[in-house]
């Protein structure tokens, strides 16, 4: 320590250079052994603290919701009755859909993907980005660029993995871009985070057609079939506002998943990148070629 104090200038310049060298050598990917080493000390504490936090949060919201329980219960009963009825109807539709799909030999678009459930044990330290640490890593089959979902829709992407933890970048983070489309008009574009909108729990979407994009409030936005990381048709959110300014037209999206109170999420442990490079086995027949639809066959 004494020798360090004697050569302060050399010490601080040396440390700065060390940081610069470390930064340039790890800018593509950070070595996983560092996180593995740090996990040994940090992860038990993080798990304990976050579980304690969830527990206290649960108690508080339980007490706070007691007075609304009666009204909420009645509302839910009504909703339940409506849903039961709808479910029955959808059951018939599913059977019918299956039969028609078999007839057309179309592969199921929304097949069951292998998923791993994970608990959020940490949130990013600074206020500029929105990231989570989850308690599953490469040991459970998670790899970078896999997608994280929750009941309702997309949460984000896995950016880094160690043996037992992974870092997730959420929809609202500045550095995440997802190719998406409007489910009503099939208008194609990109959903991206924005630290301005992040404060209100929202994100933005820009369209390929720019000013001419046909979008309206309350349109739902889903992942597009052109995405190399995401399965197509997973719900992202709905458009709450359409804004035109000097830079162009963009939509403000409210994520389908309530990210502020998220405790657990699912990681789809299937890499879509490899699949999209392989030739698709069965081409989906285009609607114009379907006989009996009253359309003219195009040669």
């Amino acid at each position: 320590m004494e020798t360090l104090s004697k050569h302060k200038k050399a010490f601080i310049i040396g440390m700065c250079l060390l940081c610069a060298v470390l930064a340039f050598s790890t800018i593509r990917s950070k070595p996983a052994f560092l996180a593995d080493f740090a996990n040994f000390f940090v992860m038990p504490m993080q798990s304990a603290f976050s579980e304690a936090g969830y527990w206290i949060d649960d108690r508080i919201s339980f007490v706070a919701s007691l007075e609304h329980l009666y009204a909420e219960n009645r509302e839910l009963r009504e909703q339940n009755a409506a849903l039961l009825e709808e479910n029955q109807r959808l059951g018939f539709m599913k059977d019918e859909n299956q039969k028609l799909s078999e007839l057309l030999a179309v592969d199921q678009l929304y097949a069951d993907y292998p998923k791993v459930g994970a608990r959020i044990i940490g949130h990013g330290v600074n206020d500029w980005y929105d990231m989570y640490t989850i308690d599953k890593g490469t040991n459970q089959g998670i790899k970078p660029s896999m997608i994280a979902i929750a009941p309702g829709g997309v949460v984000g992407t896995v950016v880094e993995c160690s043996s037992d933890t992974s870092t997730i970048r959420t929809l609202m983070d500045e550095n995440l871009v997802i190719s998406a489309q409007c489910s009503r008009t099939k208008e194609f574009g990109y959903v991206m985070g924005d630290s301005v909108l992040m404060r209100q729990g929202l994100c933005r979407m820009e369209f390929q057609n720019g000013q001419n994009a046909e979008i309206l409030q309350n349109d739902t936005v889903v992942t597009s079939q052109f995405s190399i990381y995401y399965p197509a048709g997973v719900s992202i959110g709905k458009i709450v506002d359409v804004i035109s300014d000097a830079t162009g037209k963009y939509a403000v999206i409210e994520p389908a998943v309530d990210l502020s109170s998220l405790e657990t999420l699912l990681v789809v442990t299937k890499e879509f990148k490899a699949e999209s490079e392989a030739p698709t086995p069965t081409p989906i027949p285009s609607p114009t070629a379907t006989p009996g639809a009253g359309s003219v066959l195009v040669k």
Binding site: F11, V21, A23, K30, M45, G53, D127, Y129, E174, S195
Partner: protein, 171 residues
């Protein structure tokens, strides 16, 4: 050795708290940066070299989990610790008000550095907005937690110094 392990322990516990329970004390979407306050306090109490080392360790931890690469936050916090330790000999450490301007400066400087590194060159030029929404509230919240954190660091340091005095060989 005792000092190093105690400091590593404090920084690790602080990191675990910052990533978990601090989301419940979020105000206007900002959280206090206690790691920075601990580093600055340590720099004031022990001088620039030790402040820089504590900052490097603390920043490294943040880099491993949330940094874009290893070294960015380590560099920022190391510089914060180093410059906080510069007026080491000129002030009374019992003065609890001294850390306030130092922490305010360090918090604001690190917020600016994050903006320059991650936002400015990606065309996010609305600096007044970022200043109003993130930099200012973040720095103010950090200043609010400075006094209790500095007081506890001062207490830890006094205990450590008396423990070291017992072990010191005079001749």
């Amino acid at each position: 050795m005792l000092r190093v392990s105690i400091m590593a322990f404090i920084l690790t516990v602080n990191f675990a708290l910052q990533t978990t329970l601090f989301k419940y004390i979020e105000i206007l979407g900002v959280k206090p940066d206690t790691a920075l306050v601990i580093v600055v306090s340590y720099g004031i109490l022990r001088g620039d070299v030790e402040g820089a080392l504590a900052g490097f360790l603390s920043g490294l931890l943040q880099d491993i989990y949330f940094g874009p690469c290893i070294g960015l936050y380590a560099l920022l916090q190391m510089l914060a610790g180093y410059f906080a330790g510069k007026p080491f000999k000129d002030f009374y450490k019992e003065n609890y008000l001294l850390p306030l301007p130092l922490c305010a400066g360090a918090a604001f400087a690190s917020q600016c550095a994050i903006y320059f590194a991650g936002f400015l060159f990606r065309g996010k030029l609305d600096l007044p907005f970022y200043f109003r929404m993130i930099m200012l509230p973040g720095s103010v919240y950090t200043i609010i937690v400075t006094i209790p954190v500095y007081a506890s660091m001062y207490w830890v340091n006094t205990k450590l110094e008396s423990a070291e005095k017992l072990n010191r060989k005079l001749f």
